[in-house]
């Protein structure tokens, strides 16, 4: 390593670390923000607020209500007295769904007539509503199966009825903790944000303060300048991986795969993000422009990576677009290595994708860097 290159690296580190606020915010993003989100955020449709309008208040109707409340899906329970109260509970958002049991519920069961119970769902959040409908359906069908058995026994039917019993087994995350996903997703998002923004800003700052011309006439080669600029954010980003591992441990995620593989994937993803930032800086004249463009690029990359919502749920066209987001591969690798404990044997397409995007960006970016680094 030449002396001038060493000096350039030293200068970049000094400049990078001088902005204490930025260093503090980067650390915040990698630690406190991850913790906060992991504690707070969950998509899980659980503990739905159930209100019951039981027009019969009999033993049988009580049994049905209990079938709802013993599941983890339905949490608080509010008993209503009238249909108007049901309206108000839904309007004010106090209830997610209202179960309405008709006045002749038991009589119909005894006489063997078909009966129906109603649920009123607030469809504001369609995700919650369709999940709640599914849960309610399962409970009522199961109850109907039991009623049928009792009814037939009362008619003198001997023997048992056939029954299919579903035994679920949850893999990778048996207690179904959303936190597991959230921790990994926030670590991945922080890498992207820090990598792109810091590197986009560093080159443009020289242009704005007029020191780009000075750099131009030093004996430093362009690749040396760019590498020196990429090193501090790379070092800080990799250093931030350590608290990330600590957080993974703190939340009790089962780290099933290889830590080395996770770090290697993190380094690769961070490098790709830094390259994206450097390319952005060649398009901007002022810092403000660079930062805004960085944002413009960053957001779609993040959204199309499956860190916010799973890619599976997106329309087909967007699923194809997501193949262009390097962060998508990083996310899949992180989930695979940490939760599933799989290795390169299964994740090689993701590594290949990440490397291919990195390679393509370097190939596309090099001519721009040659011509526009100081312009």
């Amino acid at each position: 390593m030449s002396t001038r290159f060493r000096a350039a690296i030293k200068k970049e580190f000094m400049q990078f670390l001088r902005d204490r606020m930025v260093v503090a915010l980067i650390l915040y993003l990698h630690t406190a923000e991850v913790m906060l989100c992991a504690y707070a955020l969950s998509f899980d449709v659980q503990n739905l607020r159930l209100a019951v309008l039981d027009r019969e208040r009999s033993q049988l109707s009580g049994q049905l209500v209990r079938r709802f409340t013993v599941t983890p899906y339905f949490g608080t329970l509010e008993m209503l007295a009238s249909r108007a109260e049901a309206d108000r509970a839904l309007d004010a958002g106090r209830a997610d769904l209202v179960l309405v049991i008709p006045p002749d519920f038991t009589a119909a069961a005894v006489e063997g007539r078909g009966q129906s119970v109603q649920i009123l769902l607030s469809g504001v959040n369609s995700n919650t509503a369709s999940a709640a409908r599914g849960y309610a359906q399962a409970i009522v069908e199961r109850f109907a199966h039991d009623l049928l058995g009792r009814r037939l026994a009362a008619q003198g039917f001997q023997g048992s009825l056939p029954e299919v019993a579903l035994q679920p087994r949850i893999w990778y995350n048996p207690e179904l903790r959303f936190r597991y996903f959230m921790v990994i997703s926030m670590i991945v998002a922080a890498t992207l944000l820090v990598g792109v923004v810091t590197s986009a800003a560093s080159m443009v700052r020289e242009k704005e303060t007029g020191t780009a011309e000075q750099l131009m006439i030093t004996p430093l080669r362009r690749d040396e300048v760019v590498l020196a600029k990429m090193l501090p954010p790379f070092a800080v980003g990799m250093a931030a991986a350590l608290p990330s591992l600590g957080i993974i441990w703190w939340f009790g995620l089962p780290f099933r795969g290889s830590i080395a593989l996770f770090l290697f994937a993190s380094a690769l993803a961070l490098l790709v993000c830094l390259v994206i930032g450097i390319i952005i800086s060649t398009f901007a004249r002022t810092l403000q422009q660079a930062l805004l463009i960085a944002f413009f690029v960053l957001f779609p990359l993040m959204f199309l990576s499956g860190t916010i919502v799973p890619i599976d749920t997106m329309p087909a066209a967007m699923q194809y677009l997501s193949l262009l987001s390097p962060i998508r591969y990083y996310m899949e690798i992180a989930l695979g290595v940490v939760l599933k404990g799989v290795g390169v044997g299964i994740l090689w397409p993701q590594f290949l994708g990440l490397a291919a995007i990195g390679g393509a960006l370097v190939a596309l970016g090099l001519p721009r860097l040659r011509n526009r680094l100081y312009a």
Binding site: S130, R133, Q137, E141, Y172, F178
Partner: protein, 373 residues
């Protein structure tokens, strides 16, 4: 007079920088389409792999019940137990249905026949819903089997219990009807605070802010001169995304348009006020961007109830959501769009939003003045 000159100066600076203008106008639209189309948490077409050890007519019918429900698509048939591992590990399947040998026999004998469903739990929200669907499919199928069995045994089968679901407010259960009205608050937090903060911090970085404070211009005037143009831009942006979002995605609007506009105006001042506040706290533009991201965009996306239900949060963190005005606007917007509620339901949130906007602008201006003077 002076204010007019300041506003003109600010607009001239914005005009001179077409990149900024372009980003400010286009990014919210791009994000609107990206998120509007991309966020659908509805669980559909779950990739199902089937490991049928029974290979009977009865087992085939159970698989059919899964695929006919519309929630599952059958992606592959597994031949060996190890296949389930690989299908889940590689993500080719989200769920694997395992039907053990002897399934048909047990049912024919009127007994209980267990089947297994292996579900990928890494995105637990999906896993929970998949479980709910699977349970309702199996229970429904099981009920029909029992009825048919009893009939064959010559018993008069009574009518059975039925569930009649009614969906309110968003009867077609379109995900966009939920996402887009919540998106307005998020999109407006993406740019106005950052642009405002950057425009003030830039003057700090270049030292021009000192020139302004030694001029006869009063500091309060300087701040108002920053707030007015950016609030105007932000309000224009708001109208644009409201119009495009509502019309393009065909979101039903049931409430009062005037209430929505009033809430939007209050919200716009809150966003710009946050920008001024950020500019008082930081010295460099990079720091301003990071802080804007952490203090505005991220919380308005994550802690406003836009995607993640606030009720799922621990209580202390539910209180934390009150720090972010996006939360109030979100509630107002969804109540107006989907429920068509009137002022009697919205008054609380509107008052909080107004209080927030006024207090924020006042505190932010005071802090900035103290920091610079």
């Amino acid at each position: 007079m002076i204010l007019g000159a300041l506003v003109r100066k600010e607009f001239a600076e914005i005009r001179r920088d077409p990149v900024t203008l372009l980003v400010a106008v286009f990014l919210p639209i791009v994000l609107l389409f990206l998120l509007g189309y991309g966020i659908s948490l509805d669980v559909q077409d779950v990739r199902l792999a089937v490991y049928d050890q029974d290979r009977s007519q009865a087992s085939a019918r159970l698989v059919e019940a899964f695929t006919a429900s519309g929630y599952f698509t059958r992606r592959e048939d597994l031949a060996a137990p190890g296949g389930a591992d690989r299908a889940l590990d590689s993500g080719r399947a989200t769920a694997v249905l395992v039907i053990p040998a002897g399934y048909a026999e047990r049912l024919a004998a009127g007994r209980r026949a267990p089947v297994q469903l292996l579900v990928d739990g890494s995105f637990s929200a999906t896993a929970l819903i998949v479980l709910g669907y699977a349970e309702s499919i199996v229970n429904g199928y099981s009920l029909r089997l029992a009825q048919a069995y009893a009939e064959r045994a010559g018993v008069r089968v009574p009518g059975h219990l039925r569930l009649v679901p009614r969906v309110w407010y968003n009867a077609p259960m379109r995900s966009v009807n939920y996402v887009v009205p919540g998106l307005f608050a998020v999109l407006l937090m993406a740019f106005p605070p950052m642009l405002t903060a950057l425009s003030i911090v830039r003057e700090k970085e270049r030292g021009t802010i000192q020139q302004i404070f030694v001029s006869p211009l009063r500091p309060a005037m300087f701040i108002v001169g920053k707030i007015v143009p950016y609030a105007a831009i932000a309000f224009g942006e708001m109208l644009l995304i409201l119009a495009v979002g509502t019309l393009w995605f065909a979101i039903p609007f049931l409430g009062s348009l005037w209430l929505l506009l009033a809430a939007s105006l209050l919200y716009v001042f809150a966003t710009v006020g946050i920008g001024v506040f950020i500019s008082a706290l930081v010295k460099t533009q990079v720091a301003a961007v990071f802080l804007s991201f952490i203090a505005t965009l991220m919380p308005s996306m994550l802690f406003s109830g836009f995607l993640f239900p606030i009720l799922n949060m621990p209580y202390v963190l539910q209180l934390y959501t009150y720090f972010f005005p996006a939360r109030y606007f979100n509630d107002i917007s969804r109540d107006l769009f989907l429920k068509g509620l009137g002022i009697e339901y919205l008054a609380g949130n509107l008052a909080l939003l107004a209080l927030y906007a006024v207090a924020l602008v006042a505190i932010a201006s005071a802090t900035l003045r103290k920091k610079v003077a």
